[in-house]
């Protein structure tokens, strides 16, 4: 099928697109507006990087995993696993601007300083509304990207452009699970005639992700509860609070989660990855069994690769991160949550295709998911 039509009919129209940007920054055909992936004109090629890179086009996840991770480390619930840690940035000024503990900012900064990577593709949250992808090459630029957004911007368009320019040779990527999966798809060099210098991608830092929100929906919601211009931060505390918190001029505005859940981006309902299983390190907010306050301001990190392990150890050595004893049962809790997301995705995909044995883009890994 023609490339643009393939993505349009198999990803955009069925509502699978996550807006990650993997199809963008490669050609004049794809772009993005307010989180919506836009096809400007039709490309008539039968094959192309856009459909090969897309994390919502059929992918044999198992084969891809075997290509990049050692098989014995893989947990079915959360993917490759070498350890779970509770950490936070040692530098209080990083923590001040961070979503949780600032571990991601500190680690990316360290990776840049120590030459693990020579640039990093990050998302600048802009207070949570209208985030954008950026290419950072120094600590200052990395720190400017602290904090999260529930709107997912097409950050990988920035990666694709940077790779195309071939100026940096080990570009780190921070992204949600859909984005990190796309990066590994790129690395697998699916279109040999044009690899877009995918070998120049460096370490991949995954972000735990429950879902992203529809851009227009969140903009309207923020405007209904606050002055969007003054919103500096958004977060969703543990489920018992059942709320989305906006920070407006330093004050916290709480929005009932019932107003938020209808705004979940359609593509996120079909996502089977909570912990960014394709990554060197995956980082999320710590969720203690003992409640929000116990681990508030801390991150949990899954180390997935040797390189990730090395960076984390270096962070410990250099005192860039502070470590805390992981709670007992933390890993099980994480596995359970991750499994829950996978089951929901399978259920939603079955509803979408109308067949219990048709999981859409997950079909090449169907056995893996049907056993859940």
């Amino acid at each position: 099928m023609l490339s643009t039509i393939a993505l349009d009919t198999q990803v955009l129209r069925p509502g699978l697109c996550t807006g990650c940007g993997a199809c963008q920054g490669l050609c004049p055909y794809w772009g993005s507006v307010d989180g919506r992936t836009v096809c400007f004109f039709d490309c008539e090629r039968l094959d192309g990087r856009c459909q090969r890179f897309c994390p919502r086009m059929p992918t044999d996840l198992d084969a891809l995993r075997k290509q990049f991770f050692s098989e014995e480390t893989v947990f079915p619930e959360i993917g490759p696993f070498r350890g779970l840690y509770l950490t936070r940035a040692a530098d209080a000024s990083i923590r001040a601007g961070a979503q949780h503990g600032g571990s991601m900012t500190a680690l990316v900064e360290l990776a840049l300083q120590e030459g693990f990577i020579d640039a990093a593709v990050l998302t600048r949250s802009q207070g949570g509304l209208g985030p954008e992808g950026v290419l950072a090459v120094n600590s200052k630029e990395v720190r400017a990207c602290s904090g999260s957004s529930f709107q997912v911007p097409p950050t990988l368009a920035v990666l694709n452009q940077a790779l195309r320019e071939n100026k940096f040779h080990s570009i780190g990527v921070v992204g949600t699970p859909c984005k990190t999966l796309a990066v590994y798809k790129m690395r697998a060099n699916p279109l040999p005639e044009n690899d877009n210098h995918a070998g120049n991608t460096g370490m991949v830092f995954g972000l735990f992700c429950g879902w992203g929100l529809d851009w227009d929906g969140l903009n309207a919601l923020a405007a209904a509860h606050a002055n969007p211009e003054n919103v500096s931060h958004m977060d969703i505390p543990p489920s018992k609070y059942h709320s989305l918190e906006l920070r407006e001029d330093g004050k916290t505005v709480s929005v009932n989660l019932d107003e938020v859940t209808p705004l979940v981006r359609s593509g996120c309902r079909y996502c089977a990855d909570m912990t960014a299983e394709f990554a060197d390190l995956s980082i999320g907010g710590a969720r203690s069994a003992d409640g929000w306050d116990v681990d508030k301001g801390w991150n949990q990190i899954i180390v997935r690769s040797e390189k990730g392990q090395k960076l984390l150890e270096l962070a410990r050595e250099k005192g860039v991160l502070e470590f805390k004893e992981a709670m007992e049962g933390g890993l099980d809790k994480l596995k359970k949550a991750s499994l829950g997301k996978k089951r929901t995705a399978v259920k939603n995909l079955q509803a979408l295709t109308g067949k219990t044995d048709d999981l859409g883009y997950l079909n090449p890994s169907k056995d893996w998911f049907q056993d859940l």
Partner: protein, 659 residues
């Protein structure tokens, strides 16, 4: 200007184009006034008249639209002047109300309308038949067949108009306008007809009680037409098979009849006066006939009128024509006429000689190389695709009619007649307040802006419709051959006048106005998107001169645009022939040997937009001395189409390297 137009050489035989014959006829008729709005196939007529108007002592203008043209002619007639109004089929429909009113009021000085029909719509959006307007308005209708008749019918029509006190419609078709033939010149009058002061009790008023007198004029005309010199009969005294033809049908028919060898036994009635039907002339031939074939362009006008006549007279005849023996649409040609006559006479069809092995490839019409419209519609498509719900685009008539095809990225959903865009968009724009969740865009050219957009603009602005009107300001009535319009500061007679300023007009109307350069693709897209988001009536003027003007500029300031094929991605992922396939400028071609983009230096006019769009920066623009003198273009101005848009036409197969 051809010598033949103004030569006072009676009896001289000249080779003339039909449009020239119309001009010569007007000069021989001693017209005082001529007005027209350009439209193919008769666009050249007023251009020529404008050039000789001063010398011959009459006034000629490119009117802002056809209504202005006909009503101005009516004014001239009131002062006893002879006035010629030249329109194309759509123009005649546009002017229908003015025509019907003027016809009921009658005329004083001769008033002749030449309406040119475009069967097969070679240079039009559609094929219409002007003749119904004569029947509907109750005015006499003439249709010439040869160039001689075309010339002769003009003075004849003026005389008729004055004798009966009625407007005369002359219908011509593309092949008559653009064909050439011998014309024997007539004498030229010393000076135009003498104007008369309008007297206090002169009346040309359209009131209901004038309907009766208007019908009386038709009765009088019927009698005159029964022995008009423009109706001929050839054939046996009492034919069983009869052909009745008007316009091109006459020549095609006579030729086919001879070719089939049935000219002796078949009657052939050529009609030059079509309405009111010269019943007294037709009936004797009809009475002996058993089978009647009607040959005419576009609609079965004569066919229905003669069927009605036969019915009234109780004749039992078999009729062949547009409804059965001929294709119901499209222009006549010798082949279809021959087939129809074979059907009538039972003559065997001569075997058709094969024309050649290779079929000509059909190529879609496209904007010229460097046309600013291409850039505007490229940007519009991008902007519309960025909307949450793709917007609706309403087309209009001009070169930009082609935007409905690949040249304009299949831009629009509707296209109606000149001036319709702003009104159709207004309707949609109002409904955006009632749940229609879409952006509404329409467009017009600068000539169309004056022609019929203005009232719609006022309406949409006054009622605050949510819409965007894009004015494609290329400073020209480009499609018909650069006739002046009120924005140009020129008149048909060559006078320099104060040009109308479109932004000032818009400003006075009270809509939001911005001006952008379509070649500045980045900024213009931003402007376009910003205006799409603004509620109310928005007008964006996309200003960049017509590419054919640029061609002239280029001979002074040459620009070389070329592809660095080492950088070009060709049909690879990341490009897929973006310049030649998507952007689609005829200057962007394809190197089949190397599978890379190529710029045709002969076609390229150096606008440089493709260099801005190339995803890999492989296209370079270099200003410098002429690289190739062949790229210099002549100064000729082509008449093509106008009020118009064309269908796909076969283009010569590409040869050489590209084959």
């Amino acid at each position: 200007m051809e010598w033949t137009i103004t030569a006072n050489a009676p009896g001289q035989v000249c080779l003339m184009q039909g449009n020239e014959a119309i001009v010569r006829g007007a000069v021989e008729a001693g017209i005082n006034f001529a007005a027209s709005y350009p439209g193919s196939p008769s666009s050249q007529v007023l251009g020529m008249l404008g050039k000789i108007a001063r010398e011959r002592g009459f006034y000629a203008e490119w009117s802002t639209n056809e209504v202005c043209a006909l009503q101005a002619c009516t004014g001239a007639s009131l002062a006893n002047g002879r006035a010629l109004c030249v329109v194309k089929q759509n123009g005649l429909l546009c002017v229908a109300d003015a025509l019907h009113c003027a016809a009921q009021a009658g005329v004083k000085g001769g008033l002749v309308i030449v309406s040119s029909d475009d069967p097969s719509a070679h240079s039009s959006t559609n094929e219409f038949d002007s003749r119904w307007q004569a029947m509907s308005a109750g005015i006499p209708l003439l249709e010439p067949t040869t160039m001689q008749e075309t010339k002769d019918m003009i003075p004849y029509a003026f005389q008729l108009s004055e004798e009966v006190g009625q407007i005369v419609l002359i219908r011509v078709t593309t092949r008559v306008c653009h064909g050439r033939g011998n014309v024997t010149l007539g004498p030229l009058p010393e000076k135009p007809r003498t104007l008369e002061r309008v007297r206090e009790w002169d009346r040309m008023v359209c009131v209901s009680y004038m309907h009766g007198p208007a019908l009386q004029k038709l009765e009088e005309l019927k009698a005159r037409f029964n022995d008009s010199p423009y109706n001929h009969y050839e054939g046996p005294e009492a034919p069983k098979k009869l052909i009745v033809a008007g316009g091109t049908g006459c020549l095609y028919g006579q030729e086919a009849l001879r070719r089939l060898g049935r000219d002796r036994e078949t009657g052939f009635l050529s009609l030059g006066t079509l309405w009111p039907l010269p019943e007294g002339y037709i009936l004797p031939h009809l009475r002996s006939a058993e089978d009647v074939l009607i040959l005419e362009e576009v609609d079965p006008f004569l066919e229905q009128a003669i069927q009605a006549l036969a019915g009234r007279e109780g004749l039992r005849l078999r009729f062949l024509g547009r409804n059965n023996a001929l294709p119901p649409i499209g222009e006549l040609d010798p082949d279809v006429v021959t087939a129809a006559i074979a059907g009538l006479t039972g003559a065997p069809l001569p075997e058709k000689k094969p024309t050649g092995e290779l079929e000509l490839p059909v190529r879609e019409m496209s904007f010229c190389a460097g046309c600013p419209h291409r850039a505007t519609f490229y940007l519009l498509k991008r902007a519309m695709r960025q909307e949450k719900h793709p917007g609706v685009v309403v087309g209009d008539i001009g070169c930009y009619f082609m935007a409905g095809q690949s040249a304009g990225q299949y831009a629009w959903q509707t296209c109606n007649c000149m001036g319709s865009g702003v009104n159709v968009a207004e309707g949609l724009g109002q409904l955006t307040n009632y749940g229609l969740d879409q952006k509404v865009v329409t467009m017009c050219g600068d000539s169309t802006f004056f022609h019929t957009i203005l009232p719609g603009l006022v309406n949409a602005t006054y009622h605050n419709a949510n819409m965007l009107l894009i004015v494609l300001d290329n400073s020209a009535t480009a499609m018909t051959g650069f006739q002046p319009h009120p924005g140009t500061g020129l008149t048909a007679m060559g006078d320099h006048v104060k040009p109308m300023d479109i932004p000032k007009i818009l400003d006075a109307v009270g809509c939001k106005v911005e001006v952008a350069d379509p070649f500045d693709v980045v900024e213009s897209e931003k402007t376009l998107r910003r205006m799409l988001d603004q509620p109310g009536m928005n007008v964006l003027i996309m200003r960049q001169p017509c590419a054919t003007l640029m061609t002239k500029e280029r001979s002074k300031k040459p620009v070389r645009v070329y592809v660095d094929q080492d950088i070009c991605l060709g049909d690879g992922c990341g490009c897929d022939k973006y310049c030649s396939r998507v952007w689609g400028c005829p200057g962007n071609t394809w190197d089949f040997k190397k599978n890379k983009a190529l710029i045709d230096p002969v076609t390229c006019v150096g606008c440089g937009v493709c260099a801005k769009l190339c995803p890999s920066g492989a296209i370079h623009v270099e200003e410098g001395p002429p690289q190739n003198p062949q790229i210099m273009r002549g100064e000729e101005e082509q008449e093509s189409s106008g009020r118009d848009a064309r269908k796909s036409v076969p283009a010569a197969a590409k040869g050489g390297e590209e084959a």
